[in-house]
């Protein structure tokens, strides 16, 4: 392995229905089609050297997913990003790539928090605002999630850094198809959630709103991860690639 590259990619529109493994397979094939000189591991079944960092759940769109690639021959990051984006299906979009300097810290460690946008078609602003207020005021909000080992209780409140009703969705050209239908209300929730174990996911936050305020969205929500990275004390998310790109921490990205 001669060099490492980190890249940010988006899952937009219908591509949010790909699971993480679906994406991984598509990405490996894209590497071949784009002619990226990815390094392979040793052993009986060599794998391409790709490591993924905290992938979004199936059904969730994202503007900020990250992975790291090992290369066996040098390739300029910008060219790599462009070549990959060209061969990947529309909706799986490589946004940027940066070379990883020697001695750089772990990418996964920098992903301290995510910012989520949750669109709730059929819900008016008022009930959502009341539920959010109740959620914020609570010390703990226990919710249940079904795991392979059965039902498990976790506290949805502790991991949530900020939560508010959004005024405008971050939508349109950047996120692919419009979600709403004219004439139908659609309240939008915006929250920043710390990456903890066990993870608190957007549907856990929604469960929390149901627990504290009886909020029941009439149709399944559309969730988008807007950003993930290091968390400031003011609850903002920074670009996790900034340190690699130019050695200095970046301005906030979310």
């Amino acid at each position: 392995m001669v060099a490492r590259v980190r890249l940010r990619y988006a899952k937009r529109g219908r591509m949010r229905f790909t699971s993480h493994r679906d994406f991984a397979r598509a990405f490996e094939r894209a590497l071949r089609r784009a002619g990226v000189p990815v390094a392979y591991s040793q052993g009986f079944t060599p794998h391409p050297r790709i490591s993924y960092a905290s992938a979004a759940p199936t059904g969730v769109a994202s503007e900020a997913e990250y992975l790291e690639l090992g290369l066996q021959a040098p390739m300029p990051p910008a060219e790599l990003a462009r070549a990959l984006d060209e061969v990947l299906s529309p909706g799986l979009d490589v946004q940027e790539a940066v070379a990883v300097p020697p001695g750089a810290g772990s990418l996964a460690d920098r992903l301290e928090a995510s910012r989520w946008q949750i669109e709730l078609p059929g819900l008016e602003r008022e009930p959502l605002a009341r539920a959010v207020a109740a959620f914020e005021a609570a010390d703990q909000v226990p919710v249940e999630r079904l795991t392979k080992q059965g039902w498990r209780t976790l506290d949805a409140r502790a991991a949530v850094v900020t939560i508010r009703v959004s005024t405008e969705p971050v939508t349109g050209a950047t996120l692919g198809e419009p979600s709403g239908v004219a004439g139908v209300p659609c309240a939008i929730l915006d929250c920043v959630v710390r990456q903890v174990t066990p993870a608190v996911r957007p549907d856990d936050v929604l469960s929390g709103l149901r627990v504290v305020a009886g909020l029941e969205p009439p149709v399944p929500p559309r969730v988008t991860r807007l950003a993930q990275g290091p968390l400031t004390t003011r609850g903002e998310i920074l670009d996790p690639l900034a340190v690699d790109r130019d050695g200095t921490p970046a301005e906030s990205v979310g």
């Binding site: 199936t58 059904g59 061969v87």
Partner: protein
């Protein structure tokens, strides 16, 4: 992404675009489908957007096909037949083709609840809006899924209830060589290779539409029938004898042939598809670039319908295969290549092909594979070549019969010595695991024939351990029940009853494990006898079986090829409710032996095989007489080439694969 204009999404699903007004775009059902996807399992399979998918402008073409593989997406997407036709049709400027697959029951329920029709994954257009629905049946167990798709598409299940607004429902694939059980649900069936057939059918539909659809649906079907190679069931009447057998199948109008012929695409180098393979986002059963290195097979294994109905052998040349692999990999990014055919090691240039491909892809992490091959040490050498890249795919052989006697009956000529020697070669060449396929319930079989499998397996391990000097060699015995198929010498045979099959499978398991030390190194996989009996009902059924299929479907039958969904009881109950009125039953269709005078339900469908030759081959089977391959020994008059005006097309061309020039 999709080039479809959205009209209001609140229009009800029955309000499809007016068929007469071709300037109106057909709406996509995506806005109605999308909210349902978070509620179902593996939603990505319904989303489309695969690499290689083609979405053409609806209004810019004259003829529109929906192509269906009637099983789940994960099985249907890799299917070569559908991929080839998809490309062949979309290459025509005046035609478009899109794909649809069976939806799982969870989505089916939601679609019914919310009024979402059967859709294509390419652009999510309703299947009912297309001119033709072409369904490819590799297996009869997809019949109930066909009914679900028709129902969800708003297409009346019975052909006679359809009008000019409904697509023509056309079946293809191997099971279409006896489509009688679904004859009532089909408008037409095509036997044999589809490439030229779909183009010819498209031409006829285009001319009929352009002329203003004269004579309606009936006239269109007549035009198709007059080609003499499209079977239109409604133009044939079936009369029955008092004892339940068929008396005759005859045309009920002029201009329709007494027998419908199969089609054969010659010169496969001129049809190098697929060029742009479909690369799914969802996980599918095969994730590789597959190239058919030849079609047809004349080894003459008597149980094998595929070999019998795809004659003669037509090879692709080594250079065509090389080019297809090169482009297919570049276009897809797959890291595995499958060299497919019914018996790949029989290709006249296989050795040069394998070593040429292995040379080209050495060090590139591309793995090459052959499907299960004849028991032949040569095949181990080939497999060695293919695994030079380092990735060793599994080795599978198909002796099919446990005793030499039964192997002569089925015409699979391999001696026990050859078998042992081949598998030992595999072990000494580095394989640790070998799979062996067998069948149970073959004609004339006794318990002893099946028990011989255990002896064989023990001998394989014993010899393998001795040759390699280690105990670390394994083999897996995989065995299923034999189902007699139409257009084979065994089409008259009595199917073995499930109880007998299950009994023999049980005996075999005991026999394998009777030796603890050897048995420990032998894996054993088997299929129960009951699903095979139903496969038998469908494979040699006639039109009366259609009512059974419908009843099973109405009581919830779906995905009959999947163990979790198949219900034997449902089929037994449906057969018991429907068949007595005709004086027949489930056993009559399956475990009953037919004699030479009986009219078989598929006799009016011509695979080219001379029926006297088939009967003679059946008698030879019972007499344990072997038959050689006509590629290398004189023609034995099976009848195909003279009656179909075809010929064997094989090499060698003498060419070699040159190294790829770097880009």
């Amino acid at each position: 992404m999709a080039l479809v204009r959205l009209i209001t999404w609140t229009r009800t699903w029955t309000g499809l675009a007016n068929r007469e007004d071709v300037s109106m775009s057909v709406e996509t059902v995506w806005p109605r489908l999308e909210p349902l996807l978070p509620r179902v399992s593996k939603p990505i399979q319904y989303v489309g957007g695969e690499l290689g998918a083609q979405v053409k402008d609806w209004d810019s073409v004259a003829v529109r096909w929906a192509l269906m593989y009637p099983d789940a997406y994960e099985v249907g997407l890799p299917n070569q037949g559908v991929q080839i036709l998809y490309e062949v049709l979309n290459e025509q400027p005046d035609t478009l083709a899109e794909r649809t697959y069976a939806v799982w029951p969870d989505l089916e329920a939601l679609m019914r609840e919310h009024g979402v029709p059967q859709f294509t994954v390419d652009s999510h257009r309703p299947v009912g809006a297309f001119d033709l629905l072409g369904v490819s049946f590799a297996t009869e167990l997809g019949y109930t899924n066909l009914l679900t798709a028709l129902d969800l598409a708003g297409i009346p299940l019975a052909s006679r209830d359809r009008d000019d607004t409904h697509p023509l429902v056309i079946a293809g694939g191997h099971a279409a060589f006896n489509p009688e059980p679904i004859a009532d649900f089909l408008d037409a069936a095509v036997l044999g290779d589809g490439e030229e057939a779909v183009l010819e059918i498209t031409g006829i539909v285009k001319a009929w539409k352009a002329a203003g659809r004269p004579g309606g649906r009936e006239e269109l079907l007549l035009r198709l029938a007059r080609t003499e190679s499209v079977y239109v069931p409604r133009f044939y009447d079936v009369d029955y004898l008092p004892d339940g057998r068929i008396q005759r199948v005859v045309p009920n109008r002029p201009g329709v042939p007494f027998r419908v012929r199969k089609r054969t695409t010659m010169d496969l180098d001129q049809w190098p598809y697929p060029k742009q393979p479909l690369v799914p986002l969802a996980e599918t059963v095969h994730e590789r670039y597959a190239v058919e290195i030849f079609r047809g097979c004349t080894r003459g294994c008597r149980f094998c319908q595929a070999g019998m109905i795809t004659r003669p052998v037509r090879e692709r040349s080594i250079t065509t295969v090389g080019k297809m692999v090169e482009e297919g990999l570049a276009n897809s990014g797959f890291s595995e290549v499958g060299l497919l055919s019914l018996s790949s090691a029989d290709h006249s240039e296989i050795k040069d092909m394998c070593s040429g491909l292995a040379d080209r892809y050495e060090g590139s992490n591309v793995s090459l594979s052959l499907p299960s091959t004849r028991v032949d040490a040569f095949n181990v050498e080939l497999a060695q070549e293919l695994s030079r890249g380092g990735r060793r795919t599994g080795l599978t052989f198909a002796p099919e019969g446990g005793s030499e006697r039964i192997r002569r009956v089925i015409n699979k000529m391999v001696t026990e010595e050859d078998l042992i020697r081949t598998v030992v070669t595999a072990y000494t060449s580095g394989w640790r695991q070998v799979k062996l396929y067998f069948m149970c319930g073959l004609p004339t079989e006794t318990d002893e024939d099946v028990l011989q499998i255990a002896r064989l397996a023990h001998e394989v391990i014993r010899a393998g351990r001795e040759a390699t000097g280690t105990k670390d060699v394994r083999c897996t015995v995989s065995i299923g029940a034999f189902v007699p198929k139409p257009h084979t010498p065994f089409q008259w045979a009595a199917q073995c009853p499930p109880e007998v099959v299950d009994h023999r499978l049980h005996l075999l398991k005991q026999a394998i494990n009777a030796d603890r030390s050897l048995g420990r190194s032998i894996g054993y996989r088997y299929h129960d006898g009951e699903p095979s009996l139903i496969e038998g009902l469908l494979s040699r059924g006639d039109r009366r079986v259609g009512a059974v299929i419908r009843r099973v479907w109405e009581s919830g039958g779906r995905f009959d090829g999947w163990r979790e969904h198949f219900s034997y009881q449902r089929w037994v109950d449906a057969a018991a409710a429907v068949l007595p009125e005709y004086g027949v039953d489930l056993a009559w269709y399956t475990t009953r032996e037919r004699d030479v005078t009986e009219v078989l339900p598929w006799d009016h469908l011509d695979s080219g095989l001379d029926s006297e030759w088939l009967w003679q081959d059946w008698q030879d089977a019972l007499a344990e007489v072997e038959q050689d391959d006509c590629r290398w020994t004189p023609c034995f008059d099976c009848g195909v080439c003279p009656s179909m005006d075809t010929e064997i097309q094989i090499g060698p061309t003498g060419r070699k694969l040159l190294p790829l020039t770097p880009v």
